[in-house]
C-alpha cells in the first residue's frame, strides 16, 4: 500500500496531459469547501432533542459556532504542521489522508450528534475534519505549481476556486439530504452527515488517485523559464521552509493574508443581518439570503479571476489593487446606506468579496515567486496560520465593535459604519505591508555549493 501511495509511483509519463491535474485538485477543494456551508446545519442542530422546536438541553447557536471556529483554527494549524510532510509524501498520499480525515470527521461528528455529545462534534468535525481541511487545502498546491510554471496563478486559482465553489454545492445538497431524511423522530442531520462523509471520502479519494507529478526537469512544451525579474519579484532560487520563517517577506505575506481575510471574513458572517438592518424597508430575509448566495458566487469568481490576472500583472500589483480598491469600497458602504441604495451596497460587497477570494488564491503563486517553487507547499501551509488568526479575530472584531456602538446608543443601521471604516483601515495597513515586500536576500536562499539549512525530512516539491 505504501508503494501504491508513494510519490515515485505517480511520476507522469512524457505524454501525460497536465490538464488532468486541475480536476483532481478541484475534487479535493470542492469537498473541503463544504466548511463554508456548515451554517445550513445550525438551526436543525439547535433542535436535535425537540425535533420541531428547541427544548431545554438542546444546543445553542453560540455553542455550535465553535464547531466552525475550531475547524478553521485546526485548518491553519494542520497546514502548518503537515505542510512539509504533505509536500514530501506527494499529493496521492496526502490527498488520501485528507480524504480519510475529512470523511471520518463527518462520521465522528454524526456519532456526536446522535449521542448528543457536543465535545464529540468538536473533536470530529472540528479537529479531525479540520486536519482534513488543512491537509486537503495544501495538497494540490505544489503539484499544480510544478505542472503550470507558466501559469502559477491561474492553476492554483482554479483549485482554490473549488474551495469557494464547494459551499455552493454543499448548501443545496445538504438541504436536499436533510429533507430526505427528516422524520418525526429525526432532523435528518445525523443521516446527512453520514452520507456527506462517505460521498466526500470517495470523491476526494478519486481525486487523490488521479494526481501525477511531473518528471524531474519537465517543462511545458515551448516554454522556457523567464529571466529573473526584480520588478515582479520572481526568483529562480529556493528558500527552505525553516529559513523562510527568518525572512521579513514571510511575515509581510502573513500579515497581508491575515488582514485581507480579517476584513472579508468579518463582513461575510454579518452580510445577511447587515443588509436587512441597513435597508430595513427594502430587503426581506429571503432577498438577504439571495445576497449571501451572490457574495459566495463573487467570492468563487474572484479566486479564479484575480489569480489568473496576477499571472499578467504580477502578484504585488494584484494585492496592491485589493488594498487600494478595497478601502474605497468599504468607505462607500456607509454612503450607500445614507443614499438608501441597495444596488450600490450589493455592488460594493460583490467586488470586496472577489478580492477576499483573490487574496486566498493568489498567495500560493506569490509565495512561489518570492521563495521559489521547491518548498511552496510547506511554506504555504505555514502562511495559512494567518487564516486561523483571522478566523478568530475577524468575527470577534466585527461583533465587538457593533455591540459596543449599540450599547452606546448608536442605532443598529448606523452601527456598521465604524466597522466598515476600521476594515478599510486594516486594508490600508495591508497595503503598506505588501509595498514593503522585496526580493529575499541571497543569504536566505539555497545555492549550488552552499550548505542547505533544510531540516531533516524536508524534500523538494518534485524530487
Amino acid at each position: 500500500m505504501a508503494g501504491l501511495l508513494s510519490k515515485e509511483r505517480i511520476v507522469a509519463r512524457s505524454n501525460f496531459n497536465r490538464w488532468l491535474i486541475p480536476p483532481c485538485a478541484l475534487a479535493t477543494h470542492l469537498c473541503i469547501g463544504q466548511a463554508y456551508a456548515l451554517s445550513v446545519f445550525n438551526l436543525p442542530l439547535t433542535r436535535q432533542l425537540g425535533i420541531t422546536h428547541s427544548v431545554p438541553g438542546d444546543w445553542k447557536l453560540t455553542e455550535l459556532g465553535w464547531v466552525f471556529t475550531i475547524a478553521i483554527f485546526v485548518l491553519g494549524a494542520s497546514a502548518a504542521v503537515f505542510g512539509k510532510w504533505a509536500q514530501a509524501q506527494g499529493p496521492r498520499k496526502s490527498g488520501l489522508v485528507a480524504a480519510a480525515c475529512w470523511g471520518a470527521g463527518f462520521l465522528v461528528g454524526a456519532l456526536g450528534i446522535q449521542l448528543h455529545q457536543l465535545w464529540l462534534v468538536y473533536l470530529g468535525y472540528g479537529v479531525l475534519g479540520g486536519c482534513g481541511l488543512g491537509i486537503g487545502y495544501i495538497t494540490p498546491v505544489s503539484t499544480l505549481i510544478s505542472w503550470f510554471p507558466d501559469r502559477r496563478g491561474m492553476a492554483t486559482g482554479m483549485a482554490i476556486m473549488g474551495f469557494g465553489g464547494g459551499a455552493l454545492v454543499a448548501s443545496p445538497f445538504s438541504d436536499f439530504l436533510m429533507k430526505r431524511f427528516a422524520s418525526d423522530t429525526s432532523t435528518g442531520v445525523v443521516e446527512s452527515w453520514i452520507v456527506l462523509g462517505l460521498v466526500y471520502f470517495l470523491f476526494m479519494t478519486g481525486g487523490a488517485f488521479g494526481y501525477r507529478v511531473p518528471a524531474e526537469g519537465w517543462k511545458p512544451e515551448g516554454w522556457s523559464e523567464p529571466p529573473e525579474n526584480s520588478q515582479r519579484l520572481i526568483t529562480r532560487d529556493n528558500v527552505t521552509p525553516h529559513e523562510a520563517l527568518r525572512t521579513p517577506q514571510f511575515w509581510l505575506l502573513w500579515w497581508v493574508l491575515c488582514l485581507n481575510v480579517t476584513a472579508g471574513i468579518g463582513v461575510l458572517g454579518q452580510a445577511s443581518a447587515m443588509i436587512q438592518e441597513i435597508f430595513r424597508d427594502k430587503i426581506t430575509p429571503s432577498s438577504a439570503a439571495g445576497f449571501v448566495g451572490l457574495l459566495s458566487l463573487f467570492n468563487m469568481a474572484g479566486r479564479f479571476g484575480w489569480a489568473s490576472l496576477s499571472d499578467k500583472i504580477g502578484r504585488k500589483a494584484t494585492y496592491a489593487c485589493f488594498f487600494t480598491i478595497g478601502p474605497v469600497l468599504y468607505g462607500l458602504v456607509p454612503l450607500s446606506g445614507k443614499l438608501g441604495s441597495p444596488a450600490m451596497f450589493v455592488g460594493c460587497f460583490a467586488i470586496i468579496l472577489t478580492m477576499y477570494g483573490g487574496g486566498f488564491s493568489t498567495i500560493p503563486a506569490y509565495i512561489a515567486d518570492i521563495f521559489g517553487p521547491k518548498y511552496v507547499g510547506a511554506i504555504h501551509g505555514r502562511v495559512l496560520t494567518a487564516w486561523s488568526a483571522a478566523g478568530v479575530f475577524g468575527p470577534v472584531l466585527v461583533n465587538y465593535i457593533r455591540e459596543f456602538q449599540i450599547d452606546h446608543g448608536v442605532s443598529k443601521d448606523h452601527a456598521y459604519s465604524v466597522t466598515m471604516y476600521i476594515m478599510a483601515g486594516l486594508l490600508v495597513i495591508a497595503f503598506f505591508a505588501n509595498l514593503a515586500v522585496r526580493r529575499v536576500a541571497e543569504r536566505h536562499t539555497e545555492r549550488p555549493g552552499k550548505p542547505s539549512s533544510t531540516p531533516h525530512g524536508a524534500t523538494p516539491a518534485h524530487a
Binding site: L26, P220, E221, A288
Partner: protein, 39 residues
C-alpha cells in the same frame, strides 16, 4: 489545451465533467436563490 492527445481527450472530458457538473449545479442553485434579491 494544445497538448491534448487523442487518448487523453475522453479522460479529460470525464475528469472535468466529474467536477464541473456538480459545480455548475451549485452555481445554478445559488443564482436561482440570488434572484430573490432582484425581485
Amino acid at each position: 489545451m494544445a497538448e491534448t492527445t487523442a487518448s487523453s481527450a475522453p479522460k479529460l472530458a470525464l475528469a472535468w465533467a466529474a467536477v464541473g457538473l456538480p459545480l455548475l449545479w451549485g452555481v445554478a442553485e445559488t443564482l436561482y436563490r440570488a434572484l430573490a434579491l432582484f425581485r
